[in-house]
């Protein structure tokens, strides 16, 4: 790297063109190749955020993709991801400003996982892998640049979480249950990218369970911890990441639908206890369906629970990712299999000796 590039990185940092980490400077030639890979023209409008009077042009997202360090080969996936992020249902503006400190979390499933080289085994929620790290970072950059970066909003996340720098999860290419995206009506064979707004993940550890039921009870306990945001609001849900060793046990006893219903039935805490702790206000709003003397689930329906199979083979862990309560949607987009234009990736270089 020449000193000029280093200077340009510093210019981007000091000019506010950054998510807090150093970026690849968005040189015009790189952005042009990324635009070609995404299949868009420079000034094409790819989405709008009317509540902020913002039109998002292809050049904005292509520049962000370059800055995040994405390879040109990711173009079709980045195009699909951009459309998902800017879908009004996703509520990108709300994700940026909420006190809930949510991230735009990316889920890759089906043939897209192998095609682009996403890591889906060890450290699946924090993989040190080019595809996971840069695609996850791209989504957060778009969120940030369309919100606070544009100067019309303030981020108000009280705590936030590390995923606001990058949060991308890939599912195993071969799954025990049907692939993740089939929960939203897409065919199993579809290469898919999905975006959902979430809080940070919570680990679920159970190394001594001998049944799937015991594992699911443990997950239910994590879903129903007193601090979980959704106990009162009931507008959110949970993404449950099942590790391979837990999946072996669960799949012997449960289909996906049965597991969903089991968790809904078992993830319950006494309403009166939640009220005593202050998790439910003294005067609940109409429609909140607070019934003293009964149990309360952190979700309104079993349909607010979704599963993804991911993680390394060693260790009996799973994870629970609470969705942000301000957006109900998983926005799924199939990824085109069209070949990518743009410059080829340079051949890998060997480290020099000495």
């Amino acid at each position: 790297m020449g000193l000029d590039v280093y200077d340009d990185i510093e210019r981007c940092m000091s000019g506010g063109w950054s998510d807090g980490l150093p970026v690849v400077p968005p040189y015009g030639s790189l952005v042009e190749d990324m635009l070609a890979a995404m299949g868009w023209g420079y000034t094409e409008v790819v989405g709008s955020l009317p509540e902020q009077s913002i039109e998002v042009h292809a050049s904005h997202v292509a520049a962000a993709a370059v800055m995040a360090g994405c390879r040109f080969e990711y173009g079709p996936l980045l195009r699909a991801l951009t459309l998902a992020l800017l879908d009004p249902v996703f509520n990108l503006t709300g994700v940026e400003v909420t006190t809930g400190g949510a991230s735009a979390t990316v889920i890759v499933s089906g043939p897209a996982v192998a095609r682009y080289g996403f890591a889906h085994q060890a450290n699946c929620l924090g993989a040190n892998n080019r595809a996971n790290a840069t695609v996850g970072r791209f989504a957060q950059m778009v969120r940030y640049f369309c919100g606070r970066g544009g100067g019309s909003l303030e981020s108000h996340g009280t705590m936030g979480h590390p995923g606001r720098l990058g949060f991308c999860v890939a599912e195993h290419p071969e799954t025990v249950w049907a692939p993740f995206h089939t929960q939203f009506g897409l065919p199993a064979a579809a290469p898919t990218v999905t975006v959902v707004s979430t809080e940070g993940p919570q680990s679920v550890n159970n190394h001594y369970a001998e049944t799937g039921e015991a594992v699911l009870e443990t997950i239910a306990g994590t879903l129903a911890n007193e601090g979980t945001t959704n106990f009162y609001w009931h507008t959110g849900g949970y993404l449950i990441v099942i590790g391979p060793e837990h999946m072996d046990l669960i799949a012997r006893e449960f289909s996906r639908e049965q597991a969903r219903q089991f968790l809904y039935d078992r993830a319950v805490r006494p309403t009166d206890e939640l009220a005593r702790l202050g998790r439910i206000p003294r005067s609940p709003r109409r429609g909140s369906k607070i019934v003293p003397g009964t149990g309360r689930s952190p979700v309104a329906s079993p349909n607010d629970l979704h599963f993804i199979e991911s993680g390394g083979a060693g260790g009996k862990f799973s994870a629970v990712i609470p969705r942000w309560v301000g957006s109900r949607a998983y926005v799924c987009q199939p990824v085109s299999s069209q070949p990518v234009e743009g410059r080829p990736a340079p051949a890998p270089t060997q480290p020099s000796g000495g």
Binding site: D4, D7, D8, R11, C12, G15, G16, W17, G20, P25, P26, Y27, G28, V31, L49, E51, Q52, S53, I54, E55, V56, H57, S59, H60, V61, A62, A63, A64, V66, M67, N91, T93, G94, T98, T99, M141, F145, C146, G149, G150, G151, S152, E154, P281, S283, R285, W324, V325, G326, S327
Partner: protein, 110 residues
């Protein structure tokens, strides 16, 4: 003040070498709002409260209503409500508030 909130991002950044410069491509879409009129004083001397559905918003607004009334300020009995804390006010409510002409108090929470 935090470093990241000190200033708006640059609109242009140039990469300059010894003999030439290249503009870097701006990654940030900028708001382009339609022209709007600012009213310094409300047309009606009345306060209208809007609950944004954040935690404790309604409780705070009800107390505000009482306090303002004890000070002799006219406050609408009805507290309007946004459909969702996570989304902007809808057009219908916005138009109703604009037509009402009072002083709108919104965005109270936590």
């Amino acid at each position: 003040m935090e470093e990241t909130s000190a200033a708006l991002p640059a609109r242009q950044i140039a990469s300059c070498g010894d003999v030439s410069c290249e503009m870097l491509v701006d990654p940030i879409p900028r708001p382009r709002p339609e022209p709007f009129t600012v009213t310094i004083a409300p047309a009606r001397q009345r306060v209208v409260l809007v609950d944004n559905r954040k935690p404790n918003s309604l409780t705070i607004l009800r107390m505000t209503q009482q306090v303002l009334r004890t000070r002799g300020i006219d406050v609408d009995e009805q507290i309007r409500r946004k459909p969702s804390a996570g989304r902007p006010m809808d057009e219908g409510l916005l138009a109703e508030l604009a037509a009402g002409g009072g002083l709108i108090l919104a965005g109270v929470s936590d």
